[in-house]
Amino acid sequence: MLAKGKAGPRHQDHPLWFLIPALAVLVVFFLVPTVFNFVYAFTDWSSFKSAINFAGFDNFTSLFTNGTLLNSLKVTLLYAVLVAIFQNAFGLGLALLLEKDTRVNRAVRVAFFVPVIMSALAVGYIFQALLKPDGALNGIIGWFTGSDVSIPWLGSTTWTIVVVAIVHAWKWMGLSMLIYLAGLKTISEDVLEAGRLDGAKRWTMFSAIRFPLLAPAVTFNVATALLGSMNGFDIVQATTEGGPGGTTELLNIYIFRTFGQGLFAQATTMSLILFLLVAILAFPVIRYLRKREDVL
């Protein structure tokens, strides 16, 4: 900040060409693939022939006339909203429970953070095994109720998407917890004390003081959960593969299936559509959430 207006000496210290190595990495690994993603969407690239020809908006028209894409988009949005709700509810709940810095709380926080660093596919397969009709969850319920339980948790065309969203939220709730914890720690003790002196009860303290002051953490958590889960793939692939009856077929699973069919250009088009969807959704969501921070 101090260097403002003194570009000369600073420039000599940090010549622009120092940027080249970083820029090269950025271009090769980020910019070029992104550009490819745009370019291939307008071609007829497939596994069936080696020539790649320009195809205009052909892929877009055929995708939008096909109901499967719209269904996948709907499923993706619903999934993202569910994940955002569950992940934030779980994360905030945990953060409030484990707020005090006791030894036990520290250990428990670590335990809840472990799923975040686990492989998403492994998490998916573990839950798939747990949730099978003859899986461990039904076994436990059966032990308590004393009867034979065989609920197909992953077999309902209505509720499976909720179950899978909860699994996704379970995996990532540790991260939300961490960010909410950090948010809670930044709340000034003076404000809290003032609240207490004014006779605020626990719930009022939370709803009128602490939660509004958590706004930046909420912004970050909701935005990352919502937009991140729009790119979801691994957990759903491992648990349901898009089933039952296509009710959990996220756009990424559909892209994977299309790519596997050899229709590479169409798969690229879909990923471009997903990219645009995330971008279009990101702006209003983040703007709304940032607005909430204005009171701070």
Partner: protein, 437 residues
């Protein structure tokens, strides 16, 4: 400074766009023309060959590899590509990664999916072709009059695996001879309190067998040629009718109660235990049964009969474990070595191979081992007269099985299944540049 930064950024962007000029990384310029077939025992010391295999085929080549390595000094590595195998292989090949050999479904649609003329070695004058039993020689593996795949085991046949003990206990002495008697048998069994059919909609892939089998007569009558030319569609009465018949059998309650959640494993256990009397399946299902019971028990319990609307014609569907393809890798020496391995596999190594796999021999001069279960012999007997499935005869392989599983789950009607399949088929055919799409 700001301007210079902008310039640099613009330069980088321009460079990136230039780089992004279209090229297919999977394209390869292999040399065509007649190839030599090295002797089976030619020395290959220092050569390493890679075979891609799926989780259910990665131990198939073991005996062949052991024999070949000892004979030639070559090293052969089997790399397991995780399921879904076909998608994984196609993706790798598309990005330029190729093995020397790979297990591959030898059907027209799947060879097209690998862009065979570009990526695969033609095997037209292979030395082992005359050794095949005549009716099997040209049954599959050929695309546009060029042979690209070496058939190593009996192609899978879609038909009915049944529990002999359940049939006997219910007084059924002869297997059904056409569709009507087949469905009647099922109704009799149901009336006797037995679950007639077992289907596994959670694992999806076997759902299509019912529709294929219902289309066997139409397939013999050129159905898939008409579909390939876009003269007939999945939404027309023939195929839609087959889908509706399948739905009607399910609605009638002839299938297992847990049809929506049942898996491949469940299906094997159900037939062996007699919980269901019949299963419409392919050879890999028998492999599943073999993992659950020994040959003696299987011979005693499990039988097989092919079925079609008008009789007992089977529907064949070669799968990935039935054949291998050899890739054009650009390295002539390794390409020749891959051909040599195939020559050995189907030549001096073949007897060991069928013995080790306990499988039916495709060659008149090689004995089928005595421990091959009876049901597999019935399957193999039906191959010669069977008709091709959708995968074997259609130019593209749409996800019919997924849509049928959706139908069983209740999220699609038969008409929607037909529409979705047709739409996908048309996309694939268009991408291939097929005429009429």
């Amino acid at each position: 400074m700001k301007n210079r930064f902008r310039n640099a950024l613009a330069l980088a962007a321009a460079g990136a766009i230039t780089l992004a000029g279209c090229s297919d990384p999977g394209a390869d310029t292999g040399s065509d023309g007649p190839v030599s077939w090295p002797a089976q025992d030619a020395d290959l010391t220092g050569t390493t060959l890679t075979i891609w295999a799926a989780q259910n085929s990665n131990t198939v080549p073991d005996s062949v590899i052991a024999g070949f390595e000892e004979l030639t000094g070559a090293e052969v590595e089997v790399v397991t590509i995780p399921d879904p195998y076909e998608q994984g292989v196609q993706t790798k090949v598309a990005t330029g990664d190729k093995p020397d050999l790979a297990f591959w479904q030898p059907t027209g649609s799947q060879l097209t999916a690998l862009n065979a003329s570009q990526n695969l070695q033609p095997l037209d004058d292979a030395p082992w072709l005359d050794a095949y039993k005549p009716e099997l020689r040209d049954i599959t593996g050929i695309l546009d009059d060029t042979r690209y795949a070496a058939l190593i085991t009996t192609p899978a046949v879609e038909g009915v695996y049944y529990n002999k003990e359940v049939f006997a206990a219910n007084g059924i002495t002869a297997t059904p001879t056409d569709w009507d008697s087949f469905v009647q048998t099922a109704r009799d069994l149901k009336a006797a309190g037995v679950t007639p059919f077992h289907e596994m909609a959670a694992d999806k892939w076997s759902t299509q067998w019912w529709v294929h089998v219902l289309l066997a007569d139409a397939a013999a009558d050129g159905l898939w040629d008409r579909v390939n030319a876009n003269e007939e569609q999945f939404t027309d009465p023939t195929i839609l009718g087959a889908i509706e018949s399948y739905q009607a059998l399910i609605d009638e309650g002839l299938f297992n109660e847990d049809i929506k959640t049942a898996t491949f494993e469940d299906q094997g256990a159900a037939l062996l235990a007699g919980d269901a009397a019949m299963v419409m399946q392919v050879n890999s299902y028998f492999g599943q049964l073999q993992s659950l019971a020994d040959t003696e028990e299987l011979n005693q319990k499990i039988g097989f009969f092919p079925i079609s609307p008008s009789g007992n014609t089977g529907t064949f569907i070669p799968d990935q474990s039935n054949a291998l393809v050899a890739f054009k890798t650009g390295d002539e020496q390794r390409e020749a070595a891959a051909r040599q391995l195939l020559s050995y596999w189907m030549g001096d190594g073949y007897q060991d191979f069928v013995n080790a796999q306990s499988t039916v021999s495709l060659q008149a001069g090689v004995e089928t081992p005595a421990d091959v279960p009876e049901a597999l012999l019935s399957v193999s007997d039906s191959v010669g007269t069977s008709v091709g499935s959708m995968q074997a005869q259609a130019i593209a392989n749409p996800d019919l099985y997924i849509y049928l599983a959706d139908m069983i789950q209740g999220t699609k009607t038969p008409a929607e299944v037909a529409e979705a399949t047709q739409a996908q088929f048309a996309e694939l055919a268009k991408a291939q540049g097929a005429e009429g799409f």
